[in-house]
Symmetry: C2
Amino acid sequence: MELPLLTDLYQFTMAYGYWKSGRHREAAEFELFFREAPFQGGFTVYCGLEESLNFLRGFRFSRSDTDYLRSVMPSTVEEGFFHYLETVNAAEVTVTSFPEGSVVFPREPLMKVRGPLLVVQLLETTLLCLVNYASLVATNAARFRLAVGPEKRLLEMGLRRAQGPDGGLSASKYSYVGGFDCTSNVLAGKRFGIPVAGTVAHSYVTSFSSIDEVQGQTLQPADGQGGEVDFLKLSWTWLEEVCQLLKMPPHSTNVGELAAFISYAIAFPLSFLVVVDTYSVMMSGVPNFCAVALALHELGYKAVGVRLDSGDLARQSVEIRKIFRRCAERFNVPAFENLSIAVSNNISEKSLKLLTQMENEINVIGVGTHLVTCTLQPSLGCVYKLVQVNNQPRMKLSEDQEKTTIPGSKAVYRLYDGSDQPLLDLMTLGDEPPPEIGKEVKIYEVGKNIETQTVTPLRAELLHRVYFRNGQMLDSEPLPSITEVRSRAQRSLTNLSPQHRKLEDPHPYRVAVTEKLHRLLSALRRSSESRANLMQFSTGN
Amino acid sequence: MELPLLTDLYQFTMAYGYWKSGRHREAAEFELFFREAPFQGGFTVYCGLEESLNFLRGFRFSRSDTDYLRSVMPSTVEEGFFHYLETVNAAEVTVTSFPEGSVVFPREPLMKVRGPLLVVQLLETTLLCLVNYASLVATNAARFRLAVGPEKRLLEMGLRRAQGPDGGLSASKYSYVGGFDCTSNVLAGKRFGIPVAGTVAHSYVTSFSSIDEVQGQTLQPADGQGGEVDFLKLSWTWLEEVCQLLKMPPHSTNVGELAAFISYAIAFPLSFLVVVDTYSVMMSGVPNFCAVALALHELGYKAVGVRLDSGDLARQSVEIRKIFRRCAERFNVPAFENLSIAVSNNISEKSLKLLTQMENEINVIGVGTHLVTCTLQPSLGCVYKLVQVNNQPRMKLSEDQEKTTIPGSKAVYRLYDGSDQPLLDLMTLGDEPPPEIGKEVKIYEVGKNIETQTVTPLRAELLHRVYFRNGQMLDSEPLPSITEVRSRAQRSLTNLSPQHRKLEDPHPYRVAVTEKLHRLLSALRRSSESRANLMQFSTGN
C-alpha cells in the first residue's frame, strides 16, 4: 500500500505553507500521545512501533503521487513544491520511542519524532493510524486475558468482523501481543508466526444429511497394526452404547451430524474436535461426538474435544463434562475426563468475566467481534502534537483544557520504590539531568492543579530508546520478535500493581512533570493568555 | 495482500474433510446475510461487492501458501490435498447478488455463492470480511447524512482512528457511498476518485511564534495588476480595524497565530480556510482570520472560511457569523456574510442531531472517530450459511432460534404498491415463478410465528443479478463506478418510506417468504426435531 499518501490532505496544504514561507527545513519535534487510557482502564499496551518504522523507511512520494496532489491542490500551488516533495524522505528523521509492548500512560510521549518541519508534519496521520488501533486492540486483548486469568486458552477469531483485510490482520497480530494464545487467521499465522487454530463450522455439519455420505470409508488403527477398520460401523456400535448410557432411544441423534463427525474423524483422527450445537447439544451433538470419539479411542487415537457456539456456555460445559466423566468411567477411557471444551458466542469482556465467575468446565475460549472491534471503546485517541520548533517549545492552548499540550522535548523516567514497584512516570525536559537516586524530587502530577508532591526514587529507568536515525533502523536497538514483544507486554502488566491493573475503577497511575517543565508550562500558558509573544521562552532558560 | 489465505483455519480443515470423503466437488450454495440491521435502525446499505468479485478473480493458492498450511495442519493430512489446493480457483463459482449500494434488510441473501463445496466453503471468511465493514460504515454514513439533512457538507476524516491503513481506506470509500461529500484521506482520493478536502491543523498554527517568521513575504493582487504588496503590513492594518470594530485592544490577538494565518493566506490566496481555536476563538482566532481575510479581499481574492475544533460548536458558529456580518457591513465586503464555517470535534450521530436542532451557522461538518469506528455498533453480523448441497436444501437449527437459517436457493423480489412504494421483500424458492402482478400472494413474515398475510403487488422487482460466472465478471452486469454506487444508495434510501428510514424506532420493513418456502422450512424443522433423515426433502417436492 502507498502509505505515504495514506494521510489527510491538510498535511500537504500545511507542507506547502511551510515550504512557501521557507520554513520547511526548520528543526521540529512532534510527540505522539493519548489523553486517556481506553475502556476506562488504568493502562495501555503500546504497539505499532515496528510498522511505523517500516513506514518511515519507505517514506517517499512517487511521480504519480505528486501528479495526483497537483490535481487536487489549489492551482495557486507552485510547481517547485511538487518537485521538492519528490525529494522528500525520512533521512533526517529521528524516532525515539517506548519499546513496543510497553505499558504506557496518559500524556507521556509514546513516540517522539524529530526532523525537518515539513517532513515530520507529513508523517502525522499515518503514524497515528499505525499506532492507534494496534495499541487499542493489544490493550483490549490484555484486558480479556486479565479477566479470564492465565489458565484458559484464548483464541482470537474476529477476522470476519474486522475493518477489512488489514484490520483483521492487525487484530490478530496485536491480540496475540496482548495475551491471546492463538488466532484463527491463517494469513496472520503465516506472516507473523502466530499459532493458528480451528476445526469445523456448522456448515460442515449441515453439508452432511445422510449416513450414505460416509459409507465405505475406513480407518487404520493408530499403531498401523491390522487392516483398515469400517469406521462407520464402529461408530454406529458405539452410538448404541452411548445412547444406552445416556438413557436415550438408540440412534435418536441427527444422522447428518453423525456422518459429519465420522468423516471428520477419518480426516483428523489425531485432532478430532467438532462443533456440537448444530442441532441439539445434549440430544444429538454430544452423544454423536462421544460415539465417534470412543471409536477413535478403540483404534488407539485420542479425540481432542467439542466446541459450543450458542446457549448457556458455562452450564452446558458442566453438563458435557459430566457426560465425559460418565463415559470415562463406564467405558474405561480415562482420557475422556480431560477432553477439551471450547466455547464461542459473541463473548465480551463482561460476559467473559461472568463466565469465569460461574461454575464451568471450559478450556478454550474463542473471542471475535468484541475483541477486534473493541466494542467498549472502538478507538484510542492518540494525537500527534508539535512540541518544539528550532529548539523553542510550542504548546497548543485550548478552550477545552484537556486539549492543551505539554510543550518541549521531553524524557520519561519510570521511578521505582524500595521494593522495585513503579511509583510514577516522570517527564523531564530533554536537557534536565535524570532524577537522582535516593534523593527527594519535586513533582507536579499532570492534569491536577494541586501543590507540589515529592517522591524519592530508588531506581529510575529511562523509558525511551532511539530506534531510527538518518533514515535507518539502529543496530543498537534491533526490533524484537513478536514473541518478545508479547513477553514484554505480559511482563510489564505483571509488574504493574494490582490496583493500577484492575479492569474497573483502577487507581490512576501517576504521570508527573518536573518543576522545570511545570514552570515552562505555566509560563507559556500565562504568556499566551496575556497574548504576548511566545518567542521569549525556551528550554534553555 | 494474499487474500485467499486471509481466512480462518477451520475453512482448510473442513476443506480437507470434504476432500477426504470425496465430497469436495459436490454442488453447493452458500448465502451471505445478516440477522439485524445495525444501529437499531431499519435499513442497511449493502457494500463490498466489487471487492468480493476482485477477490474471487484472484482466488488461488501459491506454493508458499500450501507450504505454510502443511506446516500448521495435522500431520495426518494427506499430501494429495495440498496438491489439490494448488489447482483450486473460482472458475466454477457463480455469484448472484444485490447491486452494490442497495438498501437491504435482515435475512435476505445479499449474495449467493454457488460452486464446488470445497471452493465455496473456502471463500467464507474473506467474503464476510469484505462485506461486513463496508456495509456497516456505508450504513453509518447514510445515517449521519439523514441526521443532518441534504444541505450541510459532510467530510469524512477518520483515517487516524481506523483499524489500520486498509480500515481507513475502506472507511473513506464507503462513507462516500453512504452520503458523505468528501474525505480527508488522500490515498482514498487517488484510488477511488473521491473528492478530498482539508486545510490546516493546530500544529501549523503553533509552529509560528513570531511575526518575524513571515516578514518580507508579499502577495500580488488577484488581477495581476500592480506590483507585489507587503501582505504582512496590509493584514496588520486590517487587524487594527477589526479590533476596533470588535472593541478589542489593538493587536491583542496571538501574533504566532496571526503569522500562521498570513503565511497560509500567501500560500493559498484563493482557498484561505484556517482553524481558529488554537488559542482563543473569539479573542484571537476570529479577529486574526478577519484581518487576513479582509487583506485578501482588498487584493481581489476571496477567503473561504474558518474551522472550529473545540467548544460549543453551534453557539460559536452563531457568534462567528455575527462577526462576519458586522465585517461585511462595516467594510462593505458582502462576501463575508457567506464565509464557510466548518466544525469538527468528536461528532457522533447523536451530537450531530442535537447540533442540527440548535440554532447554528455551520456549513461543513467533519466526522472522524464515530463514523469510521461505528461506535454505536462496531460490527455488522453478516454470516455465510450453507443453504443447499446437490440441489438439496440445508438448514442449521439452533437452540438460539435466531441462529436458525432459511434453507434452499432463493430469489428475492421487492414488491411495490399502487403508488410504487415498496411493500416488502419476498423470498421465493429458486424454482418458483415470480409473484404475479395484480394478484394476491400469500406470504409469511420472517421471524414472526403468525398466520398468513396476503399482499397484492402492482410491481415486482427481481433484486438479484448474476455478476460472476466461470471465474469471470459478466459483461452483462458491468460494475458501476463509485459515483453510481453512491447514487444508487441515495436513491434507494429516498425510495424507502420515512417510517422505515427514520433513525430511531423505525417501523420494521417486512421481509417474507412464500408459502412453498415456508412449507420447506417447517418440514425441515420438524424433520430435524424428530431426528429423521433430512434427505427426503428437496426443493423439487
